[in-house]
Amino acid sequence: MERIDLKKLDPEFKHRVAGELGGEHIKKCFACGICSARCPIEKIEPEYNPRKIIRMILLGLEDELLKEEFLWHCSTCYTCQESCPQRVNFTEVIFALRNLAVRKGLAPAGMAAAQNLLSQQGRMYEVGDFENEKRQEMGLPKIKGNPEDYQKLLKK
């Protein structure tokens, strides 16, 4: 690996992540390794390593990190967050990193789709007449879509 000049990295990145919702406690990490040791995803895909991700944030490796596809492989199981002795709340940090990636346009395709679906129909799955008929057959109440609220709340 070629040598990286620490001065070429952005020391402010860690403060910016700490400014994001969910990322507030990122700098509390003292690299004990418990999160990576208990992470179920790391066992299957070693590239996804919570301690390594935190270290990349602290050292300012912003671009190298946010383009990584493994940011989206966290199963949000909160095991790291429950075991962290410094309350870094790493699962929330992952959400914060994903938000930053989305803002830089680095998110996987599917993600933007969720935003559009919700801003249009307020639901992930369309609820039309066909669905409501099936529900009535089974004696279940109709579902009334109410997308207006979501359109107002989520307009860009």
């Binding site: 989206w72 959400f95 935003q115 529900r135 009334k144 609220d149």
Partner: protein, 293 residues
Amino acid sequence: MNYAFFLGCTVPVRNLNYELSARLVAETLGLELVDLEDFQCCGFPLKSVHFFDSLVIAARNLALAEKAGLPVCTLCSACGGSLSEANHLLRHNAELRSQINERLKEVGLEYTGTGEVKHFIRILYEDLGLDRIKEKITRPLSGFTFAPHYGCHFIKPAEAAGGIDPVEDPKSLSELIEVTGAKALKYNTMLNCCGGSVLGAKEDLANTLAGQKLGEVNQLGANGLIMICPFCNVMYEGQQKKVEKKLEQKLKVPVLYYPQLLGLALGAGPEQLGFKLNRVKDKDFLKQFEKED
């Protein structure tokens, strides 16, 4: 004991058997589930895209429940997680709360933080309690063993989930299974994550994770894996065929929702509990309940 019934996005469309059995069980046990028609998505899918917007959406639902003066009952752990985390966060962060209420003004709602969010299973366990459920059991399922699948958002993060269970050693679902007369299996991968939220990003990874539990339960030969969240159901039921290919071994793990199991013990038949929608079923187990009705 009445609750605002929060269905979320997947249950009312893809998991009617879960909703059906839950409504039946609630009715039998005297719980009143009020449908608020304005309830929509809980905001969970937005958390990865825009955390603040997902909080706005969650706060909207919470505000609706507060207006109706009812605690929220959720079926899906992801919805439960998203709403209770938002509730916990906004209760303790006044500045964030005022920003959220600024946005909610556009739809004439205000979040006050007085509401409460509880998963349906937690309501059965805490509000109703095992004794009252035991009284209503007419057909104990003795001689059967079921493997509980707690999932993650039901008990974690402990701070927001209200600490129903110790995170490393949960008991609630196991005891609920045993109240029906059946035996709850204790197994190594009990606390495993189903991998549901990785399905969209990298299916193979999600299947491997789900395969760890399916492999063990299949080997231990339980009568079924008990679900309390549609996300986990997608992984263990929906993806079971694909996991089979991945593990290169035959898998026959019946998957059913807890209300369906409890429904049988309360005397209801498989038809009323929407078992025909279950894709992986233990036919001879269900057969004994069919002949009566």
